[in-house]
Amino acid sequence: VSAQPPREQPLVLAADDDEDLLGLVSFRLERAGYTVLLARDGAEALEIALRERPDLALLDVMMPKLDGFELTRRLREEEATSRMPIILLTARSQDADVQQGFDAGADDYIRKPFSPDELRARVQAILGRR
């Protein structure tokens, strides 16, 4: 991360296969001063993450091609993204699913439906800690 030029605004990757939710997330975070990169499936998200090295990734669990759990594991295996904060965003809400998310290496877990303000607060909390 240190090798990258300093960014004016934090870069957030949002990945979801639902266009409306993607729009919601990006609108709210952009309003809060983040730059948001959009991905519509797991594979695209992986590619963008490795290329753009965002400051945080907001990943849906049920996505085509590569689901959020698997994507998290892959990102953790890569040198460039191994320390990148990851928040999982999902409709699956059973305890076993939450555990699976943390096992895969996620930093936080947001359940759908969610409040856009709470989403912004959590993103801010994680990025502010660093």
Binding site: D17, D18, E19, D20, L21, G23, L24, F27, R28, R31, D41, M62, P64, K65, T90, A91, R92, S93, K112, P113, F114, S115, P116, D117
Partner: protein, 693 residues
Amino acid sequence: VVVVPSTSARDGVAAAGAGDRKLWKAGVGTSLALCAVFVLVPAEHDLVRYGIVYPLTEALAVAAIVYGVLRYRPSAPSAWLLIAGGLATWLAGDLIWAYYLFKDESPFPSPADFFYLAGYLVIVGGLLVAVRRRAAGVDMRSWLDAGMFAVVSGLFAWIFLVEPTIDDPSISAREAFVSASYVAGDLLLLLVAVRFVMGISWRFRSLELLVLGLCLTLAGDVVFQLALDSAGSSLGSGDTLLLLGIASFGAAGLHETMPALTEPIRVPSKERYDDLRLVLLTACCLIPPAVLLVEWASGTGLHLVALVVTTVLISLLAVARAEVAARRAMRTAQRESLLGSYASDLMRADDEEELYGMATRTAASLIDDGSAAVVPADGQAAAHAFSVPVEARGEHVADLVADADLLTIRRNHYALGTVADELSLALEREQLRKREQEALAALSAQNERLLELDRMKDQFVSTITHELRTPLSSMVGYLEMLTGSDVGELSKEERERFLGIVDRNCRRLNRLVDDILTVARIDSARFSLERRNVDVVRLASERIESIRATAEQRIVGVELTVENPPPPLYADPMRLGQLLDNLLSNAVKFSPEGGTVRLNVGSNEDTVHIEVADSGVGIPADEQDELFTRFFRASTASTVQGTGLGLSIAKSIVEAHGGTITVASEVGVGTTFSVDLPVQAPQETAGKGEAAR
């Protein structure tokens, strides 16, 4: 006191074809009348008795037998014809004797004696034919037993009939030889008769009469010989017995059951009278020493030579009989062990074919000088010398058949029955085992299926949760931003866009809830149609318009073509709309950017045809059968969200309308769903709210 003709028909060979009972009664009556005449006519009218009545009775018997043969057609007529021949020979002798009487002469010996003696041989020949034909199922012991009877009888004949004749100085050697020849003839007849009796069945009147005739003939001869020896007065009674015997032969030959004489015994009965035979044989063995004892005690000279010869002969016969019995016991033991290993082999067999093979092999080993096999039950079993049905669970599945001589069949009758019975049991066991296996396999397949269903259901719950929460998340999120968020000021355009998004997701959620409710209805059989006349083209264009916004968002074109506008369809417009929505949203979902979804509506006389075609990912051929199964999702659909409900619902709707839905698809090219709906709905479903299934 001789013959009481039975009036009730006894089951017999000729029971099938009506016998001539009247003729038989007339014949018997005539014969008895002749016998009565013979007895009643005073002795001084010998010419009438021996020249007319006697030959007449014999001629009548011969005619009766010949008539019987022609009428009842026994399978081997030679037996009866030989008996008739014997009687005819006696007739010839009697005619010669009548000639001598006419000339008032009574030479002894005379040519008549030659005919009398020859008659015995001819009758014996007839009985031998009968024994061969009918009682072949009786083994060697019967001949040995008959031999013992004949030897003992011979002892008495020697002591009481032959020796006195030889010792009598007034009788020349020639006369003595002829007298002894009569005795020899009687002994031969006795031997064959005893053997014959052992093989017959007493169920036939004709055979009873034949045996009666033989007894009377032998008795008559004995009385005759004794009377001759005492040079005496009671000549008549011996001749009366002989005459009654001849009448019996005639009555036997004329009776409707006469073919039984040479009818082979198909299923031989168990050897009866075994115990009685043993008692009689023991008595036979004891007779020579008993005679010796009596003669020694009474002090009338001993017949030592005769006794020694008799004892030696009986001993030889007894040894031979023991040998036969031992061989038989050995064979029985072999059979037992064969059956024993057969029974244990059956336990180890793996399938029915093996069981049949074992039964055939065992039966063939039993019938070593013939053939035996288990054959399918084809109704041809009766063509074999022996057959016994094989049944499994009350069903006649096969026959165990054997072809061999009757003695072999008789010996193995019970063993073959056991083979068949054991096979029946083993087949039932095998069938039960197979059913059990099938039941287990079915159970395990069902288990697999249930596990698979359970897995699909888990998947479904997870999917449905996701599908419900996704539009809900958009609605909740955008509404929060529109109402109570710290997001800041929103422009008018933004507010309108957000409201549009909320509205779209509301509809999406609504459609999803509809699908889930529909599935629940289908499951609880509360799925009903509310039919009215529907303009299919109008309905199609409405649905096209409602999907257009979603399609354009995905950069997918939609177009409607109408080929041959269908007449109003009597159907449920809501369900038909749901069907179109499902097919169209599927097509849009799976189309690539820039693709086109085509909805085609057409009709012919009795069918409305709806086709939805996309240029999407396609469905592999081996998955197309399962496509309409609930929760099933094609492997090519993994990149697209969905519940796996839409097509199963579509199929239910189409079937509720009495139509069919089919799919044609090629991976990478596209998919076309074709729906055919009958224009004229079935009459009984035209009512209100009928059940879908």
